[in-house]
């Protein structure tokens, strides 16, 4: 791989990661009936009022979006959007 194509791939991946992060923020905001602007990626989602079962459903949403298999309890183990994104990076 040339340096240039490598750089393009890295840029494309980071764009898709940003897109995924935005999608996730919106998804969470929808489940919480909250304005997405008010959601910090470093805040634990449970503090916004996300309950256990909704957390499982959001991991289902992510599975569908990325077409990957995830443990149902992914959001239980990765409590912030930042943590979830770190976990998902390798899978994207």
């Amino acid at each position: 791989m040339s340096e240039k194509t490598g750089a393009i791939e890295v840029a494309a991946k980071s764009a898709s990661i940003t897109e995924m992060e935005n999608w996730l923020i919106n998804r969470v905001a929808e489940h919480l009936s909250m304005d997405s602007e008010k959601i910090s990626i470093h805040e634990e989602l449970v503090l916004y009022g996300l309950d256990s079962m909704s957390a499982i459903m959001i991991s289902g949403d992510i599975e569908e979006k990325l077409n990957v298999e995830l443990p149902s309890t992914t959001l239980w183990d990765y409590p912030t959007i930042h943590d979830i994104m770190l976990f998902l990076k390798d899978k994207m």
Binding site: E30, H31, L32, S33, E44, V46, G49, L50, D51, S52, M53, S54, A55, I56, M57, S59, G60, E63, E64, S72, T73, W76, D77, P79
Partner: protein
């Protein structure tokens, strides 16, 4: 024309599950006052609110307690199908006994699911020695809101022990059990990883670190020990942690998937007796120069109730087998069973009470007043282990996924698994508890495979065992089932995303209820197509299935709602035969002691 023969030899299920009739023989007829568990003695215990010690001791002489221990640990629990029927057998005698004793399984499941090898061996040994277990989840102030629980387990500074503090209430056997699996907070976050399960052996606790709350006076199961327990810095070795710290909620919910499925056995046992004692009455009671059974309205009502029982029976049997074959789908299946069966049975018992007239209200007349006892005892089943509402709620959350995934499925690839679940000639595979999952990822094989049922039905054309009229009715109703399912999926698609915080739109609950009906109807169809020639003439003719589909799908648009009188009469005749021969009211009518 193809020649088809209805099997006249005994269906293999009776030999596969030989323990069911053996237990019946051991327990003898509950109508007989000298039996191990008799309606007369149960009524006395209930009236005096006395715990059924002697009955449980007798049951354990038969080694019933070993059915709570997996066979891999030297126990007798090899299939939940078998345990379902055994539970029915005890429940039809006295729900106080089955609810109390079976709670040991609920208490043990966290260990079977997530415990260490050492914990498993230890607990298996204790249960084999007739020590009993219970699961303590609920707290007075928090009920269904488990993440709000206050009982906490704090690690000691040297990291070797936990100190357990707080109250669990109301708990079945809080006072009388020897071992408890307690759901306790192990951190202060109130999130889904804040709770852990700890196994508490009371023998190992210092007596000054726990106390009991008094027995609660209850409407039913009056002899049972429904009480509370308060811990005050009770010292538990860290080896008593079951699974990982923070896995408590996950383990508890997985255990519920099994017990919610088995609750069907409690309900079906209760309704078996409620129907049997009502039949005793209607066949004896003379009015207007004939018996009450001779009155068409009574007879047809009994036939309809029997049909509803059979629909629940199909769902219960399929689910007890499904636990082994499609374990990962049980967040959906167990919610359907726990939502549908106890509710339907409550309704059936109520309808039976109308036929029994004043006898339903008397506490000692007619079969020792067993009807009113069953009615009262039965009403707890829809509440514990997650109430009807809680199950509807958890099913609601998955509806969008279920609808989307089904649209992508053809059904054909599911054939082998469907056969393993529904073909009652087959032994089920060993269950792998690791496959239990809190989310079915949109999968529900029964409704994903429903189109496949149509082709199986098509293959039955030309068989002697089923009339063309009945077969075409079944086909039409199955087509109606599918179109109503598609309609429901469209409605689900239009609903807003589920909002967090347990404040789901009411419409979700209604659609979940409808989904349960469609699922139940589909299990009846599969049960028939996979066993059509195996379970005797009445089953084979399929008239029951027409009635069952009509009744289960009554709230939907179906092509024909009016029930065929001839089918009802044939059903009443079959019911009478089962009653006279003392057989279980089931598609697999085990011989009872009567």
């Amino acid at each position: 024309m193809s020649v088809d023969i209805i099997k006249i030899q005994r269906p293999t299920i009776f030999d596969r599950l030989v323990a069911v009739e053996e237990l019946e023989e051991f327990l003898k007829s509950p109508f007989d006052e000298s039996s191990v568990v008799s309606f007369k003695k149960s009524a006395e215990l209930d009236e005096n609110e006395i715990f059924p010690y002697q009955e449980i001791e007798e049951l354990h002489k038969w080694r019933y307690n070993e059915y709570y221990i997996p066979k891999q640990l030297g126990g007798k629990l090899k299939s939940f199908e078998e345990l379902l029927f055994l539970t029915r057998s005890i429940s039809r005698r006295d729900l106080s006994i089955s609810i109390t004793d079976a709670h040991t399984l609920l208490g043990a499941l966290p260990v079977w699911i997530a415990g260490s090898e050492e914990q498993k061996q230890e607990l298996a040994k204790e249960i084999r020695n007739s020590r009993s277990a219970c699961l303590a989840v609920t707290e007075r102030s928090h009920g269904s809101d488990l993440n709000a629980n206050g009982v906490c387990a704090v690690k000691t500074d040297d990291n070797t022990n936990y100190l357990l503090t707080g109250e669990k209430w109301p708990i079945n056997k809080a006072t009388l059990s020897d071992i408890l699996c307690v759901l306790a907070k192990t951190n202060d976050k109130k999130d889904s990883r804040s709770l852990s399960i700890l196994m508490v052996d009371k023998e190992k606790l210092s007596p000054d670190t726990y106390a009991y709350q008094p027995k609660i006076n209850t409407l039913g199961i009056k002899g049972c020990d429904i009480s509370g327990i308060v811990f005050n810095k009770a010292v538990l070795s860290k080896n008593m942690l079951v699974g990982k710290e923070g896995a408590g909620l996950e383990i508890t919910l997985k255990g519920f998937q099994i017990t919610r499925t088995l609750c069907a056995g409690l309900s079906l046992g209760a309704v078996d007796t409620a129907l049997r004692t009502t039949l005793n009455f209607v066949l004896k009671r003379q009015l207007y120069g004939k018996t009450v059974f001779d009155i068409q309205h009574s007879r047809h009502t009994l036939a309809k109730i029997f049909i509803d029982i059979i629909s629940c029976d199909c769902l219960a049997i399929a689910s007890s087998r499904g636990l082994h074959e499609i374990t990962s789908q049980f967040s959906v299946w167990s919610a359907i069973v726990k939502n549908y069966i106890p509710q339907k049975v409550e309704q059936s018992i109520h309808e039976l009470s109308v036929i029994l007239g004043s006898r339903f209200y008397f506490r000692d007349d007619h079969d020792h007043g067993v009807f009113q006892k069953m009615m009262r005892d039965n009403s707890i089943i829809s509440l514990f282990d997650g109430s009807t509402i809680i199950n509807k709620h958890s099913l609601s959350l998955q509806l969008k996924f279920l609808a989307k995934k089904r649209a992508k499925s053809t059904g054909i690839e599911l054939e082998k698994t469907l056969e393993n679940i529904f073909s009652l000639n087959k032994e089920v595979s060993d269950i792998d508890y690791n496959k239990l999952d809190l989310f079915s990822k949109g999968n529900n094989i029964v409704l994903q495979g429903i189109e496949f049922a149509l082709s199986k039905l098509g293959n039955l054309k030309g068989k002697n065992s089923v009339s063309p009229k009945t077969l075409s009715e079944i086909l039409n109703l199955t087509i109606d089932l599918i179109s109503n399912l598609m309609d429901l999926e469209n409605k689900v698609d239009k609903l807003p995303v589920v909002e967090s915080g347990h404040n789901l739109e009411t419409e979700y609950f209604d659609l979940a209820q409808s989904y349960c009906k469609l699922h139940t109807a589909a299990t009846s169809v599969f049960m028939w197509v996979y066993n059509q020639e195996e379970l005797g003439e009445y089953f084979s003719k399929g008239e029951w299935l027409v009635l069952s589909l009509q009744r289960t799908l009554d709230s939907f648009t179906i092509y024909k709602k009016e029930l065929d009188k001839e089918y009802l009469e044939n059903t009443a005749k079959h019911l009478l035969t089962l009653h006279t021969e003392g057989k279980l009211f089931s598609i697999t009518p085990f011989q009872l002691s009567n």
